[in-house]
C-alpha cells in the first residue's frame, strides 16, 4: 500500500475570496502580522502496490486533468510514502 498526497492551489493571479475571508478572521481572533492567506485543497490517495515511475506518471495525469483545473490551479505532489 502506498500513499500519495496531491496539493492543489489557485494560481497566484486568481482572486481567492475564501483566503481573504480567512485572513480577515485571523486578525479578528488576535493573530497579528499575517500578510496573506491562500486556501487550497489536499487529495490523499491510497494506492495498492508500489508507486513506480509509471504509476507516478498516472498520478500526474490524474492531477493535471481531474484533480486540478490547469486554467486556474497549480498542483504539486507533496508526498509519496510506501
Amino acid at each position: 500500500m502506498a500513499r500519495v498526497v496531491v496539493d492543489v492551489m489557485l494560481k497566484p493571479e486568481i482572486l481567492d475570496p475564501q483566503g481573504k475571508a480567512v485572513e480577515g478572521a485571523l486578525g479578528r481572533l488576535g493573530l497579528a502580522g499575517v500578510t496573506s492567506v491562500r486556501q487550497g485543497k489536499s487529495f490523499v490517495l491510497e494506492l495498492e502496490g508500489e508507486v513506480d515511475d509509471a504509476r507516478l506518471a498516472q498520478v500526474h495525469e490524474l492531477a493535471a486533468s481531474l484533480l486540478s483545473n490547469p486554467v486556474i490551479e497549480d498542483y504539486a505532489i507533496r508526498e509519496v510514502t510506501a
Binding site: 493571479e13 486568481i14 482572486l15 475570496p17 475571508a21 481531474l66 483545473n69 486554467v71 486556474i72
Partner: protein, 223 residues
C-alpha cells in the same frame, strides 16, 4: 427542430430548459449523461444545476461523462451548444470555452433578477436579439465568477466573443463584467444567467430569455 437537453446526476434546470425549448416552438429531447449518443439532435443545451453536487469543482466530473465524448466532437464540428450556469462550467472544464468559473467574490450564493446587455448577436444562440439589447433574466449561482488571463480576455473582447455583460450590478466578481462568451466559431456559447427562467410572464421576471431559444430555432430553419 430537435434540441437535446443533457441530464447529469444533480442537474436541476433541465426541465426548465426543456420547457423553454417547447415554448419557443421546438422539440426537447432528453439526453442521459451515461449514454454516449447525441441521437441526431440539431443542438444541445447543458443545463444549470449542481452536477455531481459541485464536488471537486463545478462541472469537473460531469465533463468526463460518456455523453461528453460525442458532444465535444460534434461541437468542434459546428453543432450548436448552449451551456447555462453549471453547463457553462462544464464547457470551460472541457475546454470548449476558455477561462473558468470561480467562487463568487462575495462568498454567498446569490439569486437575483439581473440586467444584462447582449453584446453579440453573431452567435446562433443570440441572433434573435438586437445588438446592445438590455434584458432582465434570473441569475442564481455560488460559483459564477468568470476568470481568464488578460490575454484571453483581450482576445475575447477583440474578436467580439463576449456574448453578454452584467449591467448595474456585477453579482459575482466576473472579470470585465462578463456574463457569457462564445467560441471562435460562434456555435458554442456559455452563459451564467438563466434565460430558461424568463420565458413565461407568470413565473419569470420577464420573458426576455426566450430569445436564446428562438434564435437557435430560427437559425436551424434557415440552415
Amino acid at each position: 427542430m430537435r434540441i437535446g437537453v443533457v441530464t447529469f446526476p444533480g442537474s436541476l434546470d433541465d426541465r426548465d430548459a426543456a420547457r423553454a425549448v417547447r415554448v419557443a416552438g421546438g422539440e426537447a429531447v432528453a439526453l442521459w449523461h451515461g449514454d454516449a449518443d447525441l441521437h441526431s439532435v440539431d443542438a444541445v443545451v447543458l443545463p444549470g444545476g449542481f452536477s455531481y453536487g459541485d464536488y471537486l469543482r463545478c462541472g469537473a466530473i460531469a465533463r468526463f461523462a460518456p455523453v461528453m465524448g460525442p458532444l465535444v466532437d460534434a461541437a468542434n464540428g459546428g453543432l450548436p451548444v448552449l451551456g447555462i450556469c453549471n453547463g457553462f462550467q462544464v464547457l470551460c472544464e472541457s475546454h470548449l470555452l476558455p477561462g473558468a468559473l470561480v467562487r463568487n467574490d462575495s462568498l454567498h450564493f446569490v439569486c437575483r433578477d439581473q440586467r444584462l446587455r447582449i453584446e453579440s448577436t453573431s452567435t446562433v444562440w443570440t441572433s434573435d436579439y438586437e445588438p446592445g439589447q438590455e434584458i432582465v433574466v434570473p441569475l442564481k449561482n455560488g460559483e459564477g465568477g468568470y476568470v481568464a488571463s488578460e490575454a484571453v480576455l483581450d482576445e475575447l473582447e477583440g474578436e467580439g466573443r463576449v456574448v453578454a455583460r452584467y449591467l448595474e450590478v456585477n453579482p459575482n466578481g466576473s472579470r470585465r463584467d462578463i456574463a457569457g462568451i462564445a467560441n471562435a466559431r460562434g456555435n458554442v456559447v456559455g452563459l451564467m444567467p438563466h434565460p430558461e427562467h424568463a420565458v413565461e410572464a407568470l413565473t419569470g421576471p420577464t420573458t426576455d430569455g426566450l430569445g436564446f431559444f428562438t434564435s437557435i430555432l430560427k437559425g436551424l430553419v434557415e440552415a
